[in-house]
Amino acid sequence: MIRNEWIAISFLCITAALGCGKGATAGRDSLHELDHVIPEHWPSDPGDAANKLRERLRQLEPGKSDQLNSTEREILELVQWAPEICADTDIEEATWLPVYEASEKLAKRLLGDEVVGDEIETLCRLLDDVQKIVDTQEMEIAREAEDELGNLDASNPEIANEEQP
């Protein structure tokens, strides 16, 4: 019986060694080369996502592109990424939710090969709205920072004097 056990263990060891043959040569000291690859069409913000979607929609028009498959795939990816791009801004949950719902619904229909040009445009408009809110928020932050800097300067006579000619 002991012999049988050793046969079983040896079998497992061989299975493990064979199964990992490819990886066994892949040992590394640094993980430098393992950064996440960011796709070229990854949008920088919601507005960029809307622009990229519209651009690809135009490419889908007959005679505009000879790479329909890759364009369709990119449209699907942009639709699926939209909630993540918007969630990475400071918009309220209530503003984010319509984008999420539209993206979920649209992605399902795109996967079912349905024609949904109008709905993509609706999503684009939602993304534009989000971008407007983000721009307003950023302008407010910049104005507040400027005000704070101004107050700081005013309360510091040395800086105030330096600035005068």
């Binding site: 990992c20 040992g27 993980l31 984010w96």
Partner: protein, 511 residues
Amino acid sequence: MVEIVGGFIRAGQGFAAAAATLMVGLLIAALFRYYLGPANTKRLFGGESLRSLPQSWLLGMLLPVCSIGVIPILRELKRIGVRPGALTAFALSAPLFNPLSLLYGLTLSRPIVVIAFALLSLLVVTILGLVWDRVARGHKAISSLESEAEEEGIIGIGRLWAVALMIGRELIGPSGAYAVVATVGLFVLGSVLPHGALQASVEQNDTWAPATMAAVAIPVYATPMLTISQLGMMFQHANAPGAALALLLLGTGVNVATLVWMTKNFGLRATSIWFVALVGLVLSCSYAVNRPLLPVGVEPAGHTHAFDIYTNPLIASADLGWRDFWSAFTRGIGLSEVVGLVGLGVIGLFGLIIRFWRVEVPVADSVAQVTVRHRFDVIVPAPVLGGVLIVGLIALSVVSSFAYYPEASESLEEIRVARVEALTAATSGNIDHAKQWIEVWDQWSRRLEVGVFLRTGELRPYQRMQGYLLRKKLESLEHELEHDPFEPEEVRSVVQQLLRMQGRYIRAFRE
């Protein structure tokens, strides 16, 4: 030398991880013997009826044991003659999930995956159980009727003492030996696979990913919590879902000791048939779900760190000082492992003493001999006590979920501590400290989500998305920290992103 030392570190970490669930397994085995008794235990596993396979599967899902902790229970079930199919259904399903890990699965990008995996495991154990019933028919129970009657007759303090003796004897005996055997697989993998060797083995476009994972998973020993966190990482990286299923069923469900135990009890031929059927079923299911369960909207990362834990923890060019060894070993040891090891140490010492002094189970006082002195001095039947203890254990396992996944405010406080530690260490270039706290931060973010779900009954899409974003940024930070030479500007950029999102993250879970 680095290979051998790395293998020992992985085996030691595996044993430490198993300590707590091994104790639970020993306790359950003793409860079956001295409280439930053979007849009730068989009934608990569905007897000879058709429902015995799903019933054993369900019982396995509820009891908090791992593939090492299940071995003393299997030994006891075999001893009393539980149907072989039910035995294998329990052996496979008990380590897969427990209430804690099942809840953790909710933090996956698609929680439906966990439910799908659980149902697929039911399918696998049912088919395998039917095969096993056919193959292993004729293997009889080991125990004699006299000893069964004797065990059922022990009551009171004598029964508690008998339970303690059985637990001690099993640990310093067959079950302890099987636990050591189980870690052999980790030793082999840790020795053979260089540091980080499995990082690109399970990509979604790799046809061989489920098969590769199946081959690696067979010698692996993994606790349910470890596997579910690995599943989380796999789905975050958009790795092959089929590989994730193979890891769950083969990595968590079986280990080297399971196979050795089966070979010893049922013979090499029967075990080989069982094993081939198991691998065949797992691979079929894995390839069947590989495409349908692909995570949507997640960009494949091209690698994963989820399986670094099965490769050598030391890099080939590492200095091999005592401090490096200790640092690599303790990196995988948390509070629960320490508590488990201390508990196991105490039981082990007790086991050594009783084995050395040859302490035997006390002679049974038969129920008829016990004098009832008061009206309320009732002799509670052993099966009632056993039933209460088993149900209590399941209830404890469910209740402990609330402790493990606390209220949002508590988790957010832990996240605050982890954030300060991780970001301070990252910006000052203290890489090891930063990486340690990034992991703590990641874990607490998942516990926060489960805690919210447990208490409110839902996890809003916005909350789920914020958790996903946080973990994605944490991983980016981890990668930036791994750059050699250290790039402070890159690190600072990710730190700023994390600081920017903290307000909305807290808001998402407080509101």
